[in-house]
């Protein structure tokens, strides 16, 4: 997978689905981007902790304590948006982007 693909929302979603497939089997690969991962019994609290560490490691940013909110992890789509946002802001803080 090329760097461009990983950087796009679609590429992030593919990687998250691969992780979900490992966690919950085949239905992880085809899970809808808006399907609720937290309340629907898809993931338990252990899997959520693993998901958070996977996301941070796979996309090269730090998952901060204050990031543990429903909005960031509710669905595959929400996780992708959170990754994009975090990479942009953490990149900026690291001096990667200047105004």
């Amino acid at each position: 997978m090329g760097a461009d693909e990983v950087g796009s929302t679609g590429g992030i979603e593919v990687r998250v689905r691969e992780f979900l497939e490992q966690e919950i089997g085949d239905r992880g690969r085809s899970i809808d981007r808006d399907a609720d991962l937290l309340s629907g019994g898809v993931l338990d609290s252990m899997a959520v902790v693993r998901l958070a560490s996977f996301v941070g490691a796979a996309f090269g940013f730090q998952v901060r304590p204050e990031d543990f909110v429903i909005e960031n992890f509710r669905s595959v789509g929400a996780i992708a948006a959170y990754v994009v946002r975090s990479r942009a802001t953490q990149g900026a803080e690291d001096g990667g982007v200047t105004d």
Binding site: L38, E66, F68, I70, E71, F73
Partner: protein, 530 residues
């Protein structure tokens, strides 16, 4: 006058009809809303032929239907059997069969699990809460009929306080769930103590963290009802995300919290408490496992306005001892489990059942008004656990064997020593697994720890441990932890191996599930051909 558990709702609805009874995800029911729905459901149950003492199971997710289904079932005179909402069909089916339930209250989201579970339960003749259908194979009444069936008054059913009220089940993650029968008397005795001890008032808001099939929920729902306070039900998503949870505590201005320590550790580490205004929170109660000291001290500093209370008991006794913590600066050493509640009388005995002097460790026995009637359908276990001891006048008294070893300190507080069944022998030496865990937890960065034993292949046991945290990056095999431990534990108590795990498996109340953990770790090894 006879006081039954659902009378708490009747009284609250009469005295504070418009007061908020229960809230969940921003929606709420007033005491009157809740009562008319519950009494409506009771009417439907009676109409379907439910008789006093029949078992009615309730299998619904966390939400506003929980108290409707609970009070409705009790008001019909039935014995409530709440089922863990996360149970797979096999567990639902087993609980229905073992309790002899004849009716199930559920909801549309559970339809598939219910149909699978009911295939093995011919005794369950009726289902409430889902639409009828050929796939169900029995009569069904949908929720919309329940919602339409509102009733102003409690149906007349004759019960006494010592009649069964509910049967709670344990997790049964690696065995059969235990079924624990409480009466209206044991439930209201606990509730009365809790309302008085924590001074619960109508303007209090109690969070409901634990699943409603556990004894924690007895406090969250019924102590709130007795005080006409509100219960704020936390959903699984809110509980999984500590940042969202702390935001909710602030927004809902929760005043009383009750959970296992784990939930508070997560809140403390990842809940962003430093940015939250939790000044409304006045009591934090915790129970179920040892609260690691460093985490406890941190959260006490993060929520300085709250008082902390360590409550001790098990589903079989509700709560039997309690200890209100001093300010954080005055905390010293291991936390005691405290002194008996006004409902309970305790005794510490040796292996032969003789009372031991203060300062000597022994098993804790409890007698009192909050103790269960017994395990449902398990006479052998009842004989072993509910023991008769001679009393004056040629009479006997029934004591519950807690299975916990405790010691009475000079200040008369009881201190927990170990689970009787967690004291193990390693090559002839006695080792307390709790001690291994507490030393692990004292190491920097170790968030959670669990110790267990495996057979060492030489006729004895070996200790292994799993940890969360502890500088995982550059020490994958846990060697540095083992080095640190070797100066803190005697050689026989040293784990032969330390596993790093991202998180611990949990029982439904949130305690570390040691049996499931051991199974996971050792089965993974078997698969890898070790």
């Amino acid at each position: 006058m006879t006081k039954l558990l659902h009378h708490l709702l009747d009284e609250a609805a009469t005295r504070s009809p418009d007061g908020v009874a229960v809230r969940c995800e921003g929606a709420s029911l007033s005491w009157e809303d809740l009562a008319v729905r519950a009494w409506g459901l009771a009417g439907i149950l009676l109409d379907r032929g439910v008789r006093p003492r029949d078992r009615v199971a309730v299998f619904v997710d966390k939400g506003l239907r929980v108290p409707v289904a609970f009070y409705g079932t009790m008001a019909a005179g039935a014995t409530l059997v709440p089922i863990d909402p996360r149970s797979p069909a096999g567990q639902v089916s087993r609980i229905l069969r073992d309790t002899g339930a004849t009716l199930l209250v559920t909801e549309p989201g559970k339809r598939r699990t219910v149909i699978e579970a009911l295939a093995d339960c011919p005794e369950v003749a009726q289902v409430i809460g889902i639409d009828p259908g050929d796939d169900l194979g029995r009569a069904a009444t949908p929720w919309k009929s329940v919602d339409a069936e509102q009733r102003d008054s409690l149906p007349s059913v004759r019960l006494i306080e010592r009649d069964p009220c509910y049967i709670l089940h344990t997790s049964g993650s690696t065995g059969l769930p235990k079924l624990i029968l409480h009466t209206h008397f044991s439930a209201t005795s606990f509730v009365d103590w809790a309302v008085s001890e924590y001074g619960i008032k109508p303007d209090d808001r109690l969070s409901n963290h634990s699943s409603h099939h556990t004894c924690f929920a007895t406090f969250d729902f019924y102590a709130a009802a007795a005080a006409r306070a509100s219960t704020v039900i936390l959903t699984p998503s809110e509980m999984m995300m500590p940042g969202s949870l702390s935001e909710l505590l602030e927004r809902e201005r929760v005043t009383i919290w009750y959970s296992v320590p784990t939930a508070l550790v997560q809140l403390s580490l990842r809940g962003g408490l430093d940015y939250r205004d939790l000044t409304a929170l006045r009591w934090v109660l915790f129970a179920g496992e040892v609260f690691p000291g460093k985490h406890l001290q941190r959260i006490m500093r993060q929520i300085p306005a709250a008082r902390f209370s360590h409550v001790y008991g098990s589903t079989e006794v509700n709560v039997c001892t309690y200890y209100h913590l001093p300010p954080v600066a005055e905390l010293r050493g291991a936390l005691p489990i405290g002194r008996p509640c006004s409902t309970s009388s305790v005794m510490v005995v040796d292996d032969a059942g003789a009372e031991v002097p203060p300062g000597t460790a022994g098993e804790l026995l409890v007698r009192g008004s909050t103790v269960m009637s017994g395990y449902w359908g398990d006479p052998e276990r009842n004989t072993a656990i509910l023991v008769q001891r001679p009393a004056a006048g040629g009479l006997t008294e029934t004591y519950f064997r807690t299975g916990d070893r405790v010691r009475e300190h000079d200040d008369r507080n009881l201190a927990f020593v170990a689970r009787a069944d967690r004291q193990v022998k390693v090559r002839g030496y006695r080792v307390e697994l709790e001690e291994v865990e507490s030393v692990l937890l004292s190491l920097p960065d170790v968030e959670e720890a669990a110790a267990f034993t495996v057979e060492d292949g030489e006729g004895s046991l070996a200790i292994r441990a799993a940890v969360v945290g502890g500088g995982t990056q550059d020490d994958p095999a846990g060697r540095r932890i083992l080095d640190d431990l070797s100066s803190l534990l005697p050689p026989q108590a040293l784990p032969e191996r330390i596993y790093r795990v991202p998180s611990m498996p949990r029982t439904p109340t949130g305690k570390i599930d040691g049996k499931a953990l051991k199974k996971q770790l050792t089965e993974a090894e078997d698969r890898h051909g070790r």
